[in-house]
Symmetry: C2
DNA sequence: TACCGGCCTTGAGTAACTCCAGGTCAAGAA
DNA sequence: TTCTTGACCTGGAGTTACTCAAGGCCGGTA
């Protein structure tokens, strides 16, 4: 499929996909005879994963390492696994941050209510 | 207190505090006779709030609006309240994103386990 | 008095997009 | 067949939100 569809399916913008490809984050993108990118289902699955990793705060450098490992084949699965496990610890930390912020907002809003009464 | 202590207490870096002040995000910072910033407890509370708002993804433009309202006094509390309520909706969305990403990671890790067996 | 740590300002650098200008190409309408 | 449209291409500039470095001042200690 072409880039606009890959964008719609993965959640990433067209520009971001091109940028990610240039940065080496998306292996194996082929081109049609006139130079346009063509995306396989595997490409789109990969982009979707990148979308969610980014959305939850994985830095590009880590994605780059992850992509390099992915490009090297199944032998790198243990390394990739440890990257994802690290990231899932980060998710837990972010959830804590959200809770902490929720508390602070609740207190603040309560104080506002006092003023408004 | 001075800037290093304000940084330690709020969670923000010294540079970030100076940057935020320059952008109008921190009202009422006074200076000592030799030009150094002095922070009151109210300043630090405000910085701490900014820290958590940033940490959970509030864009600077919104913080700017929020700070401008804060500087205008208690009459703006309803407006500030609605900004915080909006933000707390965003927190909910982020929590959903984390859950979604967790699922995706779990599936991915499961597939990795298959390969490793 | 010489040094040191902490502060100051200004300005450059970075990360991760995001947008724009100018150009190609294939396919359908006139 | 020529014209237009729409999706794509590249290269480069612009944006956001910091982050760091250079060079300088000032108050306190050895």
């Amino acid at each position: 499929m072409r880039i606009s569809e890959a964008a719609a399916r993965s959640g990433l913008k067209v520009d971001t996909i091109r940028f990610y490809e240039a940065e080496g984050l998306v292996p194996n993108i082929t081109r049609s005879s006139d130079g346009q990118r063509r995306f396989s289902q595997e490409n789109v699955d990969w982009l979707t994963l990148l979308y969610w990793l980014r959305e939850t705060g994985m830095p590009m450098k880590v994605m780059q390492r992850f992509a390099a490992l992915y490009a090297q084949g199944d032998a790198t699965i243990p390394d990739r696994k440890s990257i994802l496990l690290d990231h899932s610890r980060l998710l837990a930390k972010r959830r804590d941050d959200l809770d902490r912020c929720d508390e602070i907002l609740a207190r603040k809003l309560e104080i506002y209510e006092e003023y408004l009464r």
